[in-house]
């Protein structure tokens, strides 16, 4: 699938991987809808994509806000057309510095699940039916190695991402044969604000640049038909200047 002419909705698109991916798919000719809580920041990115000849619209919304789901997806569809690719990139770590589960407030765990699991579920529920009827579409869940590895203090985030990974697989199983595909992507460690908040002492020179990761994710989107729906793909930073190695 080529991204040219496709309608792509990306959450968490005001900074980090979401911003880089919006720029990447906008540059590849997709009609891109950028969603983030910070309306001014996300509009600035959309404006820049338009300034570079792309088609982009921004919408300010919190993915965990139940009341926003239909308003945002309806508006996105009115602006860009029926959504072909939905990228669930927005996520929350919960309060930083990260804390042990015994020290995690229940409300913070709930919030992590609301943003990282229930939000993506709601948005997919609204958009994937139309994709199934049209016979095609792709839903990408941005995951993390914390979904697989039990890192101490990453409990709320890691458990929510593990749930998201399983959601990827179950969506794929239920909609097999409809043309709607699901893809989990673990982008690896990137030089983003979120990473800095979680691991302020990390050596930034060893972290992948979001733009390089975005290029790899866009490649995976364009080649999604080649892998099994529901697959989880880990992109890992490479020392090579070309960027990224891929392990499925």
């Amino acid at each position: 699938m080529t991204l040219r002419g496709r309608a792509v909705l990306i959450t968490g698109a005001s900074r980090g991987l979401g911003e880089a991916l919006a720029r990447e798919v906008g540059g590849r000719g997709a009609r891109v809808v950028l969603v983030a809580r910070d309306g001014a920041a996300v509009e600035a990115v959309a404006q820049d994509i338009r300034a570079h000849g792309g088609e982009a619209w921004s919408i300010a919304a919190d993915v965990a806000d139940k009341d926003a789901v239909h308003r945002v997806t309806g508006l996105a569809t009115a602006l860009a057309g029926p959504i072909d690719v939905l990228v669930h990139n927005a996520s929350t770590l919960g309060p930083v510095p990260l804390s042990l589960l015994l020290d995690t407030d229940c409300e913070d765990l709930e919030r992590a699940f609301a943003v990282n699991v229930v939000g993506p579920f709601r948005w997919t529920k609204v958009l994937a039916g139309s994709m199934a009827l049209r016979g095609g579409g792709l839903v990408v869940h941005v995951s993390s190695d914390a979904a697989v590895e039990a890192y101490p203090t990453w409990g709320a985030y890691g458990a929510s991402k593990a749930a998201l990974d399983h959601l990827t697989r179950i969506w794929a199983a239920e909609l097999e044969g409809t043309g709607v595909r699901f893809l989990g992507v673990d982008p690896g460690e990137m030089d983003t604000r979120m990473h800095a908040e979680a691991m302020p002492d990390a050596d930034r020179s060893k972290l992948a640049r979001p733009a390089d990761v975005a290029r790899a994710v866009a490649d995976r989107i364009e080649r999604a038909g080649e892998s099994q729906s529901g697959a989880r793909v880990a992109l890992s930073a490479s020392a090579e200047p070309s960027g990224l190695a891929v392990a499925s």
Binding site: V72, A78, A132, L133
Partner: protein, 358 residues
Amino acid sequence: MLVVDPSNGCAEHARVAALPRYLRAGDLLVVNDAATIPASLRGETMGGEPLEVRLLSRRDDGTWRVVLFGRGDWRTRTEDRPAPPELAIGARLRVGGEVAEVASVSARSVRLVDLRFSAPSSSVWRAIYRAGAPVQYAYVRDALHLWDVQTAYAGEPLAVEMPSAGRPLSWSVLLELRRRGVALACVTHAAGLSSTGDEALDEALPLDEELVVSAATVRAVKETRARGGRVVAVGTSVVRALEGNAHAHRGELVATRMRTSLRIGPGFVPRIVSGLLSGVHERGTSHLDLVSAFVDGATLDEAYRSAEHEGYRIHELGDVCLVLDGALASDRAGLRPRSASVPAGLAEPLLRGASCAR
């Protein structure tokens, strides 16, 4: 769900989950995938007089055709709502935070006007999704949310009221149909307002409505007819879209975006659609007229009487009725009342055996 077979005059009661029983491998189910716009917006004249603006359709020249209501809200029945203040061409309104100018006023009714917004189209859509609410119904106790008026497969926002025949269709039913060899296809049709509060205008409903028929749907219909399958429309809007499209193209379905003002009633000979799943409509409405194109009056009357007896709900959020030749074998019998003790779902979907009008 009321099931009516016009070929033998039989009818029976069932759950919607049993829909796959009444269709055959090779049939095609066509749904209207239009998402429902939050088409009701608060507005006011520049003099501060409040009004409600119900969007009807976006015109090719970028204006919005709307129906205006005077003060009050949806809790008052539409037909009892006061008329809006009379507006001349050029009058300006504030609608959903944007400014719009009256571009034209219909000769049919002062309620029907075209508005030209000063903001670009994307800003108008933002205003609609920020400030709009779904068109409400006075017979419903609580205000409907936007999610209450979407089908499970809604895509492009084009309908101003829900294409409600598709409301009870779950993906479990749709995928079961597919497993049984029933193909699925869609049209996108701008299902319009069901009521305007103006008798003369209501009589003219439905006004012309935008529709999209895709190449995939044209292909699916052709393949279905070639293999002798039936084309089953979900909702009167799908019938209007398919038949309106064919009517405009000498009986052939053509992939295009267009408008239709085709009225379908008793005596109309459908060229594309074999049967339909539709709401249980009030007598005297254009919806029921359309259903009458698929079933003779006596059979429909008998079936409707039975539905009334069983307590079917009418209106947009009510029960549905499948009218389809060959849906029922006339030798089926065994009357059972519609009762809560009958389990739902595919295992025991039949609520009452067939009764036949002839």
